[in-house]
Symmetry: C3
Subunit: 424 residues, 3 copies
Amino acid sequence: MTSVGQEMHRLVERLYPLCRSITGDGVRATLDIVGEYLPLQVHEVPTGTQVLDWTVPQEWNIRDAYVADAAGNRVIDFAESNLHVLGYSVPVDTTMPLSELRKHLHTLPDQPSLVPYRTSYYTPTWGFCLAQDALDALPEGDYRVRVDSTLADGHLTYAEHVVPGQVPDEVIVSCHTCHPSLANDNLAGIAVATFLARALSEQTPYYTYRFVFAPGTIGAITWLARNQERIEEVKHGLVLACAGDAGSLTYKRSRRGDAEIDRVVRHVLEASQRPHRVDEFTPYGYDERQYCSPGFDLGVGSLSRTPYAGYPEYHTSGDNPGFVSPKAMTDTLDVCREAFGVLDRNRRYLNQSPYGEPQLGRRGLYDSLGGRSDAKQAQMAMLWVLSMSDGEHTLLDVAERSALAFDTVAVAADALRDAGLIKE
Amino acid sequence: MTSVGQEMHRLVERLYPLCRSITGDGVRATLDIVGEYLPLQVHEVPTGTQVLDWTVPQEWNIRDAYVADAAGNRVIDFAESNLHVLGYSVPVDTTMPLSELRKHLHTLPDQPSLVPYRTSYYTPTWGFCLAQDALDALPEGDYRVRVDSTLADGHLTYAEHVVPGQVPDEVIVSCHTCHPSLANDNLAGIAVATFLARALSEQTPYYTYRFVFAPGTIGAITWLARNQERIEEVKHGLVLACAGDAGSLTYKRSRRGDAEIDRVVRHVLEASQRPHRVDEFTPYGYDERQYCSPGFDLGVGSLSRTPYAGYPEYHTSGDNPGFVSPKAMTDTLDVCREAFGVLDRNRRYLNQSPYGEPQLGRRGLYDSLGGRSDAKQAQMAMLWVLSMSDGEHTLLDVAERSALAFDTVAVAADALRDAGLIKE
Amino acid sequence: MTSVGQEMHRLVERLYPLCRSITGDGVRATLDIVGEYLPLQVHEVPTGTQVLDWTVPQEWNIRDAYVADAAGNRVIDFAESNLHVLGYSVPVDTTMPLSELRKHLHTLPDQPSLVPYRTSYYTPTWGFCLAQDALDALPEGDYRVRVDSTLADGHLTYAEHVVPGQVPDEVIVSCHTCHPSLANDNLAGIAVATFLARALSEQTPYYTYRFVFAPGTIGAITWLARNQERIEEVKHGLVLACAGDAGSLTYKRSRRGDAEIDRVVRHVLEASQRPHRVDEFTPYGYDERQYCSPGFDLGVGSLSRTPYAGYPEYHTSGDNPGFVSPKAMTDTLDVCREAFGVLDRNRRYLNQSPYGEPQLGRRGLYDSLGGRSDAKQAQMAMLWVLSMSDGEHTLLDVAERSALAFDTVAVAADALRDAGLIKE
């Protein structure tokens, strides 16, 4: 039987060869495949649409691209890896000496065997990316240069999957879909989001969970522009990126710093005793930048393993399917499920019998044989919930203050609620 | 001449043999003895009275109880120690084999020589407590079992002593009176409260001090129910328990965490350089649980030596008069007196000459020979009080901020107040 | 060419011999010399003027003072050092035995070679200060005692220099001018203030900077009394004292503790990686006592090197021009200039495009070639300013939160403001 980790890794492998960008058929093909796992609502937004401070750009599609030597041998070839072409390269078909071609070539001199990932979305140009070693091996002379691409009015494509909850208040889970052949950044995030959505769909959660698969920056901005009217329904959110490498987990707080999602994820990471790191918000990274822009200031944090730009393979051909593992993606998925398990049950109650302790015994909630020192954790949890249910504190506050497990506290709260002693 | 410590210990010894419980004649006898030291107002609240979420239970009285072997020898005997009977045991008079009797016997297998203290207030049953060693020595066979007790409509008994102050605002000092032959828990607390009340009565304090001697839980709940209308007069409070063992002092904060009493006791413990511990509030322990329930949320902390359930002798026959000492009780008493000395003088003043420093010299408040570096602490205290008397800060704030002794600050404030420079 | 440090030290040397006090011609001569460097507005406030809780005292002037032995030899001589006379000594001309004279003699037994500095402003008396060694060498016998001073109605003298800014909101820089021959306390402060004013005058700063040269305590109180109506214009301030000794810098916070000046100076000291100390406010020290009195509670801190009373030469003849150095005064001056450079540019902006990130690229504010990991600090600074410009945070907040240099942040903010993306 195939484990969830293996299924996620298989999804990464299937998506890996596609040439994604912020627009174009590579994104559509990606969503088609994700759609096999999860019903998706796909949105197509026309070129020229004003989205917040931005405009949806022309759609970019590419069929072929190469640099060939005088003998016609392709020395740089898009067919071999889509990283070889500068993203959003305009069409070109010409011949030029290597000396002139160099201005259009991008390498990583410090990582000479790796191909870098480069784009130029908003300044029209063309270019190729290659390993420094490969460049060094090129003899001087003339080269045929061809980019068979189209930059034309079209659409920006993004998709959503909604897991309906008991309340319309939403949790968004967002991952960027614009990177071409890079596995950790962000096929692993897409895979974890996909299987997280499937897991949540197995029950009716408290919150409505909305999964957003959209190109970075312009995609999140487009989503925000089209959801601006109802943005107050978005109570919490998580950006998933770099979800599959071998590093330990990193949670980056929302701009607010103490949003409920911040406290929940930190609590789960800490309580589970996983090695982890919690970083403060910075206005750099993934689409939390947009969700947390000061006008929206949503409670959206970001979960990664090794964070943004923190590993040598970042934005290079080294970030391939071998760089991400079923085990790491499973661990990321588990933390998401645990965190949403806490978030979903994290309520603020009001003690209905706040003057003195209510008599738990006659409600069957207390061990009646007093005087023993081995009070049970469940009873402690009830006392803590009663004490702190003043309309200010949540069950997570109770768990952190009492050092009891959130589950223990939530179960105690359920019993007290059923007995009519606390009320939301 | 007898020291206060010796007097307190003598009181513990006198109270020790009485069989107290949450109701009954043992409580009345206890209050009679305390009444020899301190005039008490005794309250009798009838069985069935609704008190907050609870109901005053039937009154329990016990005359005799034993387990006797076939030869008539009492192998477990209430007359030897009242701990041998499960508190609130219903009457029984029967013969049964040891195998059946065992269900009614309570021991401490890990502390085989000690008799545990057990009660069953709200579930009618009977039982005996004994040392595991004693149980192990019992041969199989039939045993006569007798509990000559009464559980009948009656009263719950508690008492108060009020030391009138200059203002009606109250400080309550509360100690539980329901434990039978246990010295630290809580005869030492009763003894310290008694002598604290006597000490406070020697002057007219600022606050009115109300001492409450009441059974744990149901007693505090009864007191709260009967004082609910005037509860806003209760500004501060202290629960005294485990006041006589050899451990260092432990203060447990009120639920508020930063109530004035919390700051005062912490300050006194710290300033006196006693070894001590300050614990956060938990909704478990003594009657601070009731005073700090969220509906009341009074500024009531709890002072103990080794805290609740923190010593092996806790709730066993090991907690006898030898477990508490005159020295430890005197130390607890001293800290209470010091703390109430600070609390009583802790005012919030308003500088009446807040623009620039007032000229202390012409008011005789300042050493007129300037330029010397050996400014006196008293003068520093005056400057601090002037600087911080902005209607927000108390004298305790001044003492903590300036690192001057509270006494120095209070004396400086008196001088400034007498000179008309500060006003309450 | 003479460095600024040498010029400041030359000024200290010129001012050193003058006999300053809280009133009198020594103060006027001091302001005359400072006036050679800086145009001053000199204020003369008549004796008897009510200033806040105080009254301007009589003016004290002294021409000569000595103690002479029977042979007519001056054994203590004002002409040799003005420290030899107790400040504000009333006139005296008499002969008395050493035994009686001793009551009027002040020494430092623990520093037997140094002459102490002593005054008696508000209790009429006379006295002499001398080295303990010198006193020990005096034979018993009669001594002629003469103080040729005048204590008469006159004026209290202080001066101001204003550097006009773009806004009427003021920063005050205050230094005490009442100490006689003491170099660090406070001729170094006067010198640093003088050259700081000159430096600020070279441009039009944002704030209006007002330099106050006034006697300690009574001078600051007089200034406050005469500026009480407009005190709300004073937004920030700095008291300069002990500005030239070899110790590292000490900043003493304003009474508010977190005033903008407090944060600015702390930031500059920290960012510059100078060894330094930041002390909490105390109501003792220099004229920050008056500016920070609770009625005014101005955001005025104090910058010193070794702070108030913190060095053995404090208030003794050891505090001579050799005790202060050009280098130390230059360092103090530099920190003042850096701090005011930050204060002057520390604004609170509002992001005008707060929903999502604005597209910096089309405004020429962003490197258009995406995907590279070497994002420039300038771009990070722009993102931080956009993220934090919510009307609450200042540029200093941005600098501290982002760990970017204040300059980098301020330059980024200028670019964003010029592009219309942020607004004050």
